[in-house]
Structure formats: structure tokens, C-alpha cells
């Protein structure tokens, strides 16, 4: 029997045989996929891709493609209507790493408010010369933390921050009666209320943190983003940081990744990390197990786990078992 071909990004996970079994794996070619899709792409049955990466249209037309499998929680750049029309299933791995992302969010909050990464840089460049070398910072207890996006990550951030004595409120598009913290009417109101604004929104919230939201956060305010880089108008954020219209930022995600950090590199009041909030051994293993199981089920024509909610009711058997 002919073996199904699986397409994966070159760096995704460990790309070992144990992940893909003995199925042939093609890794993404550099650059435009169009020519490639016309030739080798015709045999691809399943594809692994980051939900934050936009796929060229021709990928959706690959004749045998039946599964797009996203390793993270997000799938905002996958064209779900095309997938629906062509009978392509889309799965994600939500909730696998929410606590890990929340841990890094707290690390970035602490680093930004208590100047930890800045202190590390100061010592390493030999600038710690007296006990007066460093400014005093604010006390975390009593500071107001606004969490934008109150899913698994947002609520894990809130629970951690509460133990530091931070006052917590949140905003998200839908009310959540079970949430133990107050919901403010909109993002602007949340920013105005907050001393620290932590973003944990899915990727469809593009550009919502603009100059107006940053000005509402204000010159004492700190912005932390562990959601998606695209939530922020980065030009507005850079200007606000440079002009001290906000006090600082902690960023795990960027509009472009991998990012060239040079626009941020002269800003002392920023902590930068390479979108690694969810990348722990445990969460990667959990994600791999789920993706392997989905792949096995897909190839065996069985019901998939973790199909994205928008496509949860679509029938998929037709193209998976040829």
C-alpha cells in the first residue's frame, strides 16, 4: 500500500520517526510553496503547521490533503472556510501549555515591574558601582493587573498574580459568569484601570492594542504580551516606550517571528523572550502525544480528537481513507 505523505515545517518538534511512524515526511521548502505544491505537494495527505502562519491558497487545493494539524492553541491564519469547503479537518492543541505560558507571563510581569532583566544587564555591563545605581521600583501588592483574554492562559495568570497581592480585572469579548474577577466593559477601560496590562488573547485580535490603548495604560503602566504579537501595533508600542508614555513592557511574542530584536534593543525598560512561553518538555510531549494520536486516527479513518470548534460538526471520513 502506498504510504501517506505528511508535510511539516523543518523545525517543528523533533521530526523523528517515532513521531510520524514510517510515513514519509516532507519538510516545507524555503519561500513560495506554489511551484512545490504543483509537483510534490500532490501526494500530501496531512500537514503540520503553526496556526499563526498564513498558507498560500494552493495548499488548500492539494488534491489529497485531509488534515491540517496545529501544534499550539492558535489557528487564526488557517482559512477555515476553505477547509470546510474542501473537507479538510483542522485540529489544534489548546490548553496543553496554558500554565507554562502563564508562568512566563508572571516572569515578564516581575521582570518589568521589578526590573529584573534590566538589573541583570546593568551588572553584566559593569554599571553596578554603588548601592544607588538602580532606581527604586513599585511594590507589586496593590497594583492593578488587567488581563485581556480570559481563557485558560488568562485565568492562570490571574490566579498566580493574586498570590502576589495584585488586584485583578479582565476583559474578553464574552462575559464569563464563573470568573472570580470583575470584567470591565472594554479593552480601553481595562487599560485605563490597569497598572499592568497582560495580553492573553487569541490571534484573531489583530492590532487591538494601539496608541489609544497604550495612552490609556499611561506612563506608570506596564504591558506584557504572551498571546500573539499581532495583537499589538508594534510601531505605536515602540513610540510609547521611547517617549516613556508607558513605563515598560515584557514581550514573548512579536508580529514577525523569528524577530529581529534590533528595534527593541536600545530600550532598557523591555524584557524580550522568543515566543517560548509554552515550550516546556512536558507541554511539548503532551502536544506530540495528541498530534500522533490525531494522525493515527486520521490515517485509520477514525474520529479525530481536538478538531477546532468551528469545524467540529463537519464530516471528514470521505477523504481520509483513500
Amino acid at each position: 500500500m502506498e504510504k501517506p505523505v505528511i508535510l511539516a515545517p523543518p523545525q517543528v518538534f523533533r521530526l523523528q520517526q517515532r513521531f510520524f511512524g514510517d510515513h514519509p515526511v516532507i519538510t516545507y521548502p524555503e519561500g513560495d510553496l506554489t511551484d512545490w505544491a504543483r509537483t510534490e505537494g500532490k501526494d500530501v495527505r496531512a500537514m503540520v503547521t503553526w496556526g499563526s502562519i498564513e498558507l498560500p491558497e494552493i495548499v488548500y487545493d492539494l488534491p489529497r490533503l485531509g488534515l491540517i494539524s496545529c501544534p499550539g492553541a492558535g489557528y487564526e491564519k488557517i482559512d477555515l472556510e476553505k477547509c470546510r469547503a474542501r473537507g479538510i479537518a483542522v485540529t489544534n492543541c489548546a490548553g496543553m501549555n496554558a500554565e507554562d505560558v502563564a508562568d512566563v507571563a508572571l516572569g515578564l510581569i516581575l521582570s518589568s515591574v521589578r526590573l529584573i532583566a534590566a538589573g541583570d544587564r546593568l551588572i553584566r555591563r559593569g554599571a553596578w558601582v554603588s548601592m544607588q545605581s538602580f532606581p527604586l521600583s513599585r511594590r507589586l501588592r496593590g497594583m492593578k493587573l488587567g488581563v485581556a483574554g480570559f481563557g485558560a492562559i488568562g485565568s492562570a495568570i490571574a490566579d498566580r498574580a493574586a498570590a502576589f497581592g495584585m488586584e485583578i480585572a479582565w476583559w474578553g469579548p464574552r462575559p464569563k459568569p464563573e470568573a472570580p474577577y470583575p470584567r470591565l466593559p472594554d479593552l480601553h477601560a481595562l487599560a485605563r484601570w490597569s497598572d499592568v496590562l497582560a495580553l492573553a488573547m487569541p490571534g484573531n485580535a489583530e492590532g487591538v492594542v494601539d496608541a489609544a490603548v497604550l495612552d490609556a495604560l499611561g506612563p506608570e503602566g506596564v504591558l506584557v504580551n504572551v498571546g500573539r504579537g499581532t495583537a499589538i501595533d508594534e510601531a505605536a508600542l515602540l513610540a510609547a516606550l521611547r517617549e516613556k508614555r508607558i513605563a515598560g513592557a515584557g514581550l514573548d511574542v512579536f508580529v514577525r517571528e523569528p524577530d529581529n530584536a534590533s528595534p527593541w534593543a536600545d530600550l532598557e525598560n523591555v524584557t524580550l523572550t522568543p515566543h517560548f512561553g509554552g515550550a516546556t518538555r512536558e507541554s511539548v510531549t503532551d502536544t506530540e502525544v495528541l498530534m500522533q494520536e490525531n494522525l493515527r486516527r486520521f490515517l485509520a479513518g477514525e474520529k479525530l480528537l481536538s478538531v477546532v470548534p468551528e469545524l467540529a460538526n463537519e464530516p471528514y471520513a470521505a477523504r481520509t481513507n483513500t
Binding site: 508562568d103 508572571l106 516572569g107 516581575l110 541583570d120 553584566r124 521600583s137 507589586l140 498570590a163 516546556t280
Partner: protein
């Protein structure tokens, strides 16, 4: 708080009392204000006898930092009855000598313990999740694929050991709980009201811990308590966090362990020598360094300064001082 009457034999006075202060506090705009005639303590290079001839011996109170103390000879000042330490520590104070001379020693404990615990947790996360290290990397133009951090362990379920379950240690434990870290501690005395299990010894705690947080006082009995044996017990997956005093760690042994990867990383707010020389840490990427600023918030500074001023006012008004150190209560 009850104070031994021998500390209080001074009558209220109308003239502006002369007090000893570190030289930086002699400036007219210092937070100590103008209620007192402030005279700079002799520095380490000054001739104390000459200083005494110049300034006399009529001092009844001294304000200092616990890590600085006062020169030995000044314990003999015949009228000195109060040493007020700014900050929680009083490591450089000779407590026995103060007791023998009837000198009250006050500190500012329970003011900045939450601030120190916040930085301790910041260092825990930075050291285990590589935050400061990644920040340095990105600023140097690099971008490490998240998958290259694959060996990073989830914080939840790991074991956090706290050395010294005082105000700081307890505040660390409370903060660590929602991260689902398992918590244990060790200190020389049992604490029946502690909610966390106490290990039999420091070595047992280090062997049990994935993350060892140091929150004990600086004192002769804690000097270089974290030595090579403790670091070996912590092991190659272990991370050391120090928000206590640099003196509690054998720093050369720590640097050797970090270099040999016989421990995984460290987060250090305090050092053997402060400021610590940058060259000492230059090749150690797996360490987050901060400038002994754990307690340095505006809030704690204002509260500490207020407490020191209140104690001076009480002392010179003949009232009992607050926050005597435990040994003298």
C-alpha cells in the same frame, strides 16, 4: 512591645539631639529631616580616636544600615543607648556587645519581606524559564527557536525548598503555591504553625529540591552555609536562588558548580562583595543577576524611613522604641 527599662533612662530634651548617621544621611535634604543634629559616622579608613577627639562622645543614638554597623570602638560611647538599623538586616551589629552595654538595637523587619519575595519569585521564573538569558540573546541579535529550549521543565510539580521560613520565606511559599510548586523548608527551629513540611537538615532539603531559595538571615551561624556539599546535593537539575545575604553562600564554590553544570542555574540578588564585579559572571549565561534590590521599593523605603524616624522620636521623648531585634526583646 515591652522594653527593658534600662534602655529608657534618658529624659526628654529640648535641645536638638546629636545623632550618628552614615555620611550620606548628613545632607540637609536627607529623609531623616532636621529634627536632629546629624554627625557622620567615621568611615572604615578614618582614625576613630581622632574622630572621637573631634566630635566628642556625647552621642545617644546612631542610625545605620545593618550591613554597615558602627565601628567597634563606638559601642563604648558612654551615652549610646540606641542603634537603629534601616532595613531588616543587622548582620554587622555586635548584638552581645550591645546587650552588655544596654544599647537597644532596632531594625525594620516585616516591611519589605513581600518585596523581597516578589524578586525571589522573579528570579525563580527567570532562572528556570531562561527569561534574562533569552532577553540577552535577543538583544545580541539572536533568536533561539523555542524548540531549542526543549529541555525546559514545567514549573508545576517541581519541588521548591526554602531555607529559612521567616517572613520572606513564608511570602515566597505563598506566592509559589499557585504555580503548583511543591514546597518544603528547613530552618534551625521547628515551627509548629508552618503549613509546609520541614526537612531534617539543609542537605536533605537541598537533595529534595529542584529549586532552593535562600531566605535566612546573615549571621555567623549562616556564614557560607551553602557550600559545595549543599550544591552537590541540589544537583545538575537544581537551581539556586539567593535573596538573603551574599555571605550565606560560598560564592567560589557556586561559580565552580555553575561552570561545571553540577547545578543548572542560579538567580542572585546578593553577593559576597557588593557591587559584584561583572567579570566574575561574564561566562555564566545560566544566571540571573540583580543589584540587591529585593527590598528596594518606594513603599518599603518610605515605611522603613518612617519607622526609623518614629523610633528616634520615641527614644528622645523617653518612650519605648518599636521593633527591637528579637535577641534583645
Amino acid at each position: 512591645m515591652k522594653v527593658d527599662p534600662k534602655f529608657l533612662k534618658w529624659e526628654p530634651t529640648l535641645s536638638r539631639p546629636r545623632i550618628l548617621v552614615p555620611s550620606v544621611l548628613t545632607q540637609p535634604n536627607s529623609w531623616l529631616g532636621d529634627a536632629y543634629d546629624k554627625v557622620a559616622l567615621p568611615g572604615p579608613k578614618d582614625d576613630v580616636e581622632a574622630w572621637l577627639r573631634a566630635n566628642g562622645e556625647e552621642f545617644r543614638a546612631a542610625v545605620t544600615w545593618g550591613i554597615l554597623g558602627i565601628p567597634d570602638r563606638l559601642y563604648d560611647l558612654p551615652q549610646l543607648k540606641l542603634i537603629s538599623c534601616v532595613g531588616a538586616g543587622y548582620d554587622a551589629i555586635d548584638v552581645e556587645r550591645a546587650r552588655a552595654r544596654g544599647i537597644a538595637v532596632t531594625n525594620c523587619s516585616n516591611i519589605n519581606h513581600e518585596d523581597v519575595a516578589d524578586v525571589a519569585m522573579g528570579l525563580v521564573i527567570s532562572a528556570t524559564r531562561h527569561i534574562a538569558e533569552a532577553d540577552r540573546l535577543l538583544r545580541a541579535g539572536g533568536w533561539k527557536n523555542p524548540l531549542a529550549f526543549h529541555g525546559v521543565r514545567k514549573l508545576g510539580g517541581r519541588k521548591l525548598g526554602i531555607v529559612g521560613l521567616g517572613a520572606i520565606g513564608l511570602a515566597v511559599a505563598e506566592r509559589a503555591a499557585p504555580f503548583k510548586l511543591e514546597i518544603a523548608w528547613w530552618g534551625p527551629r521547628e515551627k509548629p504553625d508552618a503549613h509546609y513540611p520541614r526537612k531534617d537538615s539543609l542537605l536533605a532539603l537541598a537533595a529534595w529540591s529542584d529549586i532552593l531559595v535562600l531566605a535566612m538571615p546573615g549571621a555567623p551561624e549562616t556564614d557560607r552555609m551553602i557550600d559545595r556539599a549543599v550544591l552537590d546535593a541540589l544537583g545538575p537539575q537544581g537551581v539556586l536562588i539567593n535573596v538573603a545575604r551574599g555571605s550565606v553562600v560560598d560564592e567560589d564554590a557556586l561559580i565552580a558548580a555553575l561552570r561545571a553544570r553540577s547545578i543548572a542555574g542560579a538567580g542572585l540578588d546578593v553577593f559576597e562583595q557588593e557591587p559584584t564585579p561583572a567579570a566574575r559572571w561574564a561566562d555564566l549565561e545560566n544566571v540571573t543577576l540583580t543589584t540587591h534590590f529585593g527590598g528596594a521599593t518606594v513603599d518599603s523605603m518610605v515605611a522603613s524611613q518612617q519607622l526609623v524616624r518614629d523610633n528616634l522620636d520615641r527614644f528622645f521623648a523617653g518612650e519605648p522604641v518599636q521593633s527591637l531585634i528579637p535577641e534583645l526583646r
